[in-house]
C-alpha cells in the first residue's frame, strides 16, 4: 500500500511542479510586461516634467528674469526695450476664466446629473448619458469657432464693446467642461451607498428632501471632485479660449475687454519664437506654471477622494 501511495504522491508532486513552473513563467512574463509599461510611463512623465521644468527655470536662472517680475509684473513686452516679462495678466486671466466657467457649469451639471440619476434614471441613462458624452467628443476648435461666430457677436450686440473677452471665454469653456463635470457627478450619484436613499424615503422624506439633505451632503466630496476636474480641463484648454478671448497682454477693465490666459499666450507665440531665446523660455515658464497648477488640481482631487472614503 505504502509504495503505491508514495509513487502516486511523487507523480502528483511532479505534475504539480510542472504546472507550478509554467505558472511561474506566466506570472513573470505578465509581471515583466506590465512593469516595462509602468517604467515607460514613469519615464515619460519624469522626462516631460524635467523638460518643462528645466526650460521654465532657465528664464530665471539663465536669463535672469526675477521671480517677482514674472509673477507680479503686469507688463509683458518680450520684444520691447527694455524687455519685460510680467505674466500676471495671463495668470489672472487663466484663473478668472476657470473660476467663472466652473461657477456657470457646476450648478447646471449638478442639476443634469441629479435629473439623470434621481428623477428619470432610465431615460437619463439611455438618452442623456450618450448626449453628454457626445458633447465631450466635439473638438475644441469647433467650440472656439462657434464662440467666435455666435457668442462674440451676441455679447457685442447685447452689452456693446468688443464682445471678445473673459465673458466670451468662460461661456465657451463652461459648455466644454459641462460633460466632464456632469458625467463624474452622475457616476458619484449612482454609487450612493446602499440603503441611504431608501431609509430617507422610509422616514417619510420627500424626493427633494432626500436629495438636498441626504444625497448631496453624503456625496459632496465626490461632487467637488467633478468640479475640480472640470476646472483642470478649463485651466488647460487653449484653442477655443484663444479664439474668443482677444489675447491682449493686459489685465482687462471689464469682462468684455480683450484679455489673455497662460495657454492662449503659449499657443500664440511658441511657434514664432526661437528655442532658447528669453521669450521662448518665458513661455516655458508659463507652461511650468500650468503644470504645477495641474499638480495642485490632482492633489485636491486626491484629498477629496480620501475624505470621500471615510
Amino acid at each position: 500500500m505504502e509504495p503505491i501511495e508514495g509513487k502516486a504522491y511523487m507523480e502528483q508532486n511532479k505534475r504539480s511542479r510542472g504546472m507550478k513552473e509554467r505558472h511561474y513563467w506566466e506570472e513573470w512574463t505578465g509581471r515583466i510586461y506590465t512593469s516595462v509599461c509602468v517604467v515607460f510611463l514613469v519615464a515619460v512623465i519624469v522626462s516631460i516634467v524635467y523638460f518643462v521644468a528645466s526650460k521654465g527655470v532657465a528664464t530665471f536662472v539663465v536669463n535672469g528674469v526675477s521671480l517677482q517680475e514674472f509673477f507680479f509684473g503686469t507688463k509683458w513686452s518680450p520684444d520691447g526695450e527694455p524687455m519685460s516679462f510680467g505674466a500676471l495678466p495671463f495668470i489672472t486671466g487663466s484663473f478668472a476664466v476657470t473660476v467663472l466657467a466652473a461657477l456657470i457649469a457646476s450648478p447646471l451639471s449638478l442639476c443634469a446629473a441629479l435629473f439623470m440619476t434621481e428623477i428619470v434614471p432610465k431615460s437619463g441613462k439611455r438618452i442623456l448619458q450618450p448626449a453628454i458624452e457626445l458633447l465631450s467628443g466635439i473638438p475644441s476648435v469647433v467650440y472656439g469657432f462657434v464662440g467666435l461666430t455666435v457668442i462674440v457677436p451676441l455679447l457685442r450686440d447685447v452689452f456693446g464693446g468688443q464682445g471678445i473677452g473673459i465673458l466670451a471665454g468662460c461661456l465657451v469653456l463652461s459648455v466644454m467642461i459641462l460633460p466632464t463635470i456632469t458625467s463624474i457627478m452622475a457616476d458619484a450619484l449612482s454609487s450612493l451607498p446602499g440603503g441611504l436613499r431608501e431609509s430617507s424615503y422610509a422616514l417619510g422624506a420627500t424626493r427633494w428632501q432626500t436629495i438636498a439633505r441626504v444625497i448631496i451632503p453624503t456625496l459632496l466630496p465626490a461632487l467637488l471632485t467633478g468640479i475640480i476636474l472640470g476646472m483642470a480641463r478649463a485651466f488647460g484648454e487653449a484653442l477655443a479660449v484663444q479664439m474668443v478671448i482677444g489675447n491682449a497682454p493686459h489685465i482687462p477693465q471689464s469682462l468684455l475687454e480683450s484679455a489673455s490666459t497662460l495657454t492662449s499666450v503659449i499657443t500664440l507665440s511658441m511657434g514664432n519664437t526661437a528655442m532658447g531665446s528669453v521669450h521662448n523660455n518665458a513661455l516655458w515658464s508659463m507652461a511650468l506654471v500650468l503644470l504645477l497648477m495641474t499638480f495642485i488640481f490632482v492633489l485636491l482631487v486626491r484629498l477629496l477622494e480620501r475624505r470621500n472614503r471615510i
Binding site: 513573470w28 509581471r31 515583466i32 512593469s35 516595462v36 517604467v39 515607460f40 519615464a43 509683458w76 513686452s77 518680450p78 520684444d79 520691447g80 467666435l148 462674440v152 457677436p153 457685442r156 468688443q162 464682445g163 471678445i164 484663444q242 479664439m243 482677444g246 489675447n247 491682449a248 497682454p249 493686459h250 482687462p252 477693465q253 475687454e257 480683450s258 489673455s260 499666450v265 500664440l268 507665440s269 511658441m270 511657434g271 514664432n272 519664437t273 526661437a274 528655442m275 532658447g276 531665446s277 521669450h279 521662448n280
Partner: protein
C-alpha cells in the same frame, strides 16, 4: 534575489530601447548624406526632405512638394512639410533636425546665434496691407496716421476723417513675422501691445474679426483680402502686385527657405524646382504670393532697397 532579476532585465530593456531611439535619431541625417553621395553616379536622386516652419509659407511648399514628388525624375525623393512657425523652422534647421527651415523673416532677426551658418533661399514675396472694417469710412491712411493708430494716439476714426467710431486694433502677437514685417515697413517702428487690442495669429480669424467688429483695423496678406474688409491705401498707394513689384508699395517681405550650409543635392533639386517657372508662374500666383522672379527691387535684411 530571484525576485529582483526581472526588474534588472526590465531596466536593461528600457536602457536598450532608449539607446536605440537615440541612435536612430542621430543616424538619420548621416543616412541622408550617405544616400545622397551613393547616388551621385546614378541620374536619379533619392532622399528625404523635411521642411518645417512658417505657416504662411506652408501651403506653397506643400503644393510644390506634391508636384515635385510626382515628377518622374524626382520620384525617389520624399518631401515632408510641417508647420510650427518661423521660430520653430529656424531653430530646427539650425539644429540639424530639419533640412529646410521656412521663415517669414530673415534668420538673423529671429535667431540669437547660428544665423550665419544658414543659407537663404528666397522663394516668394508676400505683401500685406492695412485693412479696416468697411463701415469706418476711411480708405486711405498716411504713414503717420497709421503709426498714431497703432501706438494708441488716435483712438477714434473721426480723427482721420471717418465715422465717429472707436478704433479697435486687431494685432498679431509680438513674435509674429507678419507683425514684424508690418511694423518694419509700414510703421517704421516697433509698437507696444495696447490694452483692449485684440491679438490673433491666424489670418482667417483676423479677417473674420475685422469684418465683424465695428471700428476694427488690422493687417492681412494680400491673398486674404476680399470684399468683407476694406484694404486701406498706404500714402495713397494701393496694395497690389504691380505696385509691389515696381517698388512703389513698401509693405512686403520675402518668404525664406533656409538650409544649413549649402543644400545637399536632393534638397537643392527641390529648391530649384520651387524657383522654376513651373511653380513660380502658377502655384505661387494661385496661392496669392508674388513670384520672386517678377520683383524689380531687392531688399536685404536691414531693409535697404536696391533696384
Amino acid at each position: 534575489m530571484l525576485k529582483k532579476w526581472p526588474f534588472i532585465l526590465m531596466t536593461l530593456t528600457m536602457v536598450f530601447a532608449l539607446a536605440a531611439c537615440g541612435s536612430a535619431n542621430n543616424a538619420a541625417p548621416q543616412g541622408d548624406a550617405a544616400t545622397g553621395t551613393d547616388n551621385k553616379a546614378a541620374t536619379e536622386l533619392t532622399g528625404n526632405i523635411l521642411a518645417v516652419g512658417s505657416t504662411a509659407l506652408q501651403p506653397l511648399v506643400e503644393q510644390a512638394g506634391q508636384k515635385f514628388m510626382a515628377v518622374d525624375k524626382y520620384k525617389g525623393i520624399a518631401v515632408q512639410v510641417q508647420g510650427g512657425g518661423s521660430g520653430t523652422g529656424l531653430t530646427q534647421v539650425s539644429g540639424g533636425q530639419a533640412d529646410i527651415g521656412n521663415s517669414d523673416v530673415f534668420a538673423k532677426e529671429k535667431l540669437e546665434s547660428g544665423a550665419d551658418e544658414l543659407v537663404d533661399h528666397q522663394v516668394a514675396v508676400v505683401a500685406m496691407s492695412a485693412v479696416a472694417n468697411p463701415k469706418v469710412g476711411v480708405a486711405d491712411l498716411k504713414k503717420d496716421q497709421l503709426v498714431q493708430i497703432f501706438t494708441g494716439k488716435i483712438t477714434n476714426w473721426k480723427q482721420v476723417g471717418g465715422a465717429d467710431q472707436k478704433i479697435v486694433i486687431v494685432n498679431r502677437p509680438s513674435s509674429s513675422g507678419t507683425r514684424a514685417t508690418f511694423e518694419k515697413y509700414a510703421l517704421g517702428q516697433k509698437t507696444e501691445d495696447l490694452p483692449g487690442s485684440i491679438q490673433e495669429d491666424s489670418s482667417g480669424t483676423v479677417k473674420k474679426l475685422i469684418a465683424e467688429t465695428p471700428g476694427a483695423i488690422g493687417y492681412l496678406a494680400l491673398s486674404y483680402i476680399d470684399n468683407t474688409v476694406t484694404a486701406l491705401k498706404y500714402d495713397g498707394v494701393e496694395a497690389n502686385v504691380e505696385n509691389v513689384e515696381q517698388g512703389k508699395y513698401p509693405v512686403w517681405a520675402y518668404e525664406h527657405m533656409y538650409t544649413k550650409g549649402e543644400p545637399k543635392e536632393h534638397v537643392k533639386a527641390f529648391l530649384d524646382y520651387i524657383l522654376s517657372d513651373e511653380i513660380q508662374k502658377s502655384d505661387v500666383v494661385d496661392l496669392g504670393y508674388i513670384p520672386v522672379s517678377g520683383m524689380q527691387v531687392k531688399r536685404d535684411a536691414d531693409g535697404n532697397i536696391t533696384k
